[in-house]
Symmetry: C2
Subunit: 293 residues, 2 copies
């Protein structure tokens, strides 16, 4: 599933307007992965829901020759369009940037605007080297991220209650409340060892967390979710099951909340938050707990 267009509406001047009614081609170019160009470019595009954007990615444009060929390709595509294409690029190399900037489209190079200003502020010269952000530059730090992924996988859904002393955080919540994707994101992006523990009927009957979990109270991130959203997610997994039914969803959430209350824990509401938003909050809590802000 990539870029599947969905009819959406946005609200403006007291009425709903159908989104994606105009089209514009967008190119993301970089000498390396192009993740940064995609990130800022797509953020900017998200402010224009009136448009549907046809995105084209051109990573690893690291020679003048590749740049020249690409410029020709873009110019050809640009010719027939009523709305001139947008081009977002992050180029460390000034020569390649110069070639690309000659494109017959709206060219936005995202580094140059800032690189020289920052250099002035810091009083040093920038490296102007590509691949420093997402390449294998710092092997130790990279290996630590991969270790965190392995740890998180091994401690997903409380498959192992041992080794939790190694965890940076332990996410707790009812089944299917989004713990696993959030933990994986924390590991992959931030190198955080994120274990997770699903609350089950055992915990509810015991009226307490297991002692192996409670031991790490300061690392716990307990979560809650609306019964409607949980029902929706579980229905997709096991349609028409008791497990997915509204009464069961509502009752599990209620029992979870009682448990948190009993242990003096305040839950994070995951209902309308994305993995990225949850991870941002958890990283924040984790950093505060380490006195790093």
């Amino acid at each position: 599933m990539i870029c599947s267009p969905v009819v959406q509406f946005y609200y403006e001047n007291n009425r709903f307007i159908e989104a994606n009614t105009m089209n514009c081609d967008v190119f993301f170019i970089s000498e390396s992965t192009g993740i940064t160009a995609d990130e800022l470019g797509s953020s900017l595009l998200s402010q224009f829901p009136q448009f549907s954007f046809t995105k084209r990615y051109h990573p690893f444009i690291d020679t003048i020759e590749k740049a020249e060929i690409l410029v020709e390709q873009i110019n050809e595509i640009a010719e027939g369009q009523s709305v001139k294409p947008l081009v977002f690029a992050t180029m460390a190399n000034k020569q390649i940037n110069k070639v690309l900037s000659g494109v017959a489209a709206n060219y936005y190079e995202l580094f140059d605007n800032y690189l020289d200003k920052i250099a002035d502020n810091l009083g040093v010269v920038p490296r102007r080297e590509s691949g420093l952000m997402h390449g294998l530059v710092n092997e130790l730090q990279y290996d630590a991220r991969i270790d965190a992924v392995n740890y998180t996988l091994a401690h997903d859904d409380a498959m192992v209650l041992k080794g939790l002393d190694e965890a940076d955080v332990i996410m707790v919540g009812v089944s299917r409340s989004g713990k696993t994707p959030t933990c994986l994101y924390l590991a992959l992006k931030y190198g955080i060892k994120a274990a997770n523990y699903p609350l089950t009927s055992d915990d509810f009957e015991r009226h307490a967390f297991p002692k192996e979990i409670l031991k790490y109270k300061e690392k716990l991130i307990v979560t809650t979710i609306s019964p409607q959203r949980l029902h929706h997610i579980r229905e997709k997994r096991r349609p028409n099951s008791r497990y997915a039914s509204m009464p069961i969803c509502a009752s599990e959430i209620k029992m979870a909340m009682d448990l948190y209350d009993r242990h003096g824990l305040v839950p994070l509401d995951v209902t309308s938050q994305s993995v990225e938003e949850l991870a941002t909050q958890i990283v924040r809590i984790y950093r505060l707990s380490k006195s790093v802000d």
Copy 2:
């Protein structure tokens, strides 16, 4: 593991210079997650290895009051510093941006430079709403990403050889060559259903891929790695084991290459590539196979 400083060197004017010898405080600010500010800001900072940067994250600064308090905090920290702090912000709201821009530091707002220009190019007004990039905006697309994560987890290390018709890509390689983190990244970031299959002695003895895998030849991403790197990774997992020994690593890689050759497949070399770089290439191959560039 976050931001652990490591002594590194960089090469300039024919000599190695110790990196991180100067320090500068950096603030990342956003009304939402701050992922975009972090992404471009950190990309820019990676061009200055002479400095070690103390990074501070301030997501969810979505009111003028929060912005005012933050400006005071930054000004206080800035006072004692010889190098003025850098502030990277992505602000959709002009009023909050105005408050922040008064900070006694080098302030870089990353949206404003482009938002009005793009609006001019497109002939429409930007929404200037926060959380459009990493929030739960398009629920269908978001759910597809989470589905991809679940699929990838269920099809990690060939735990299930069924359901591969649903896979977007199937990564193949010897054990510990980085398939799992790359597949998880593909799923989390791009919503790509990425299964993976580790080559084992069974495959080598059979001199062929299993037919369940070969059936999906057009989806296969076969990988290779240097014996040294594989040895290094496996040693950390099982020190001094036969599994991690150089002869076994070298022989497995050789047998894998013979297999690829037999099936007419060209491998991706993962040796010195990060998860992000590999994913970028795989997405590219996948998009080309779908005739989407």
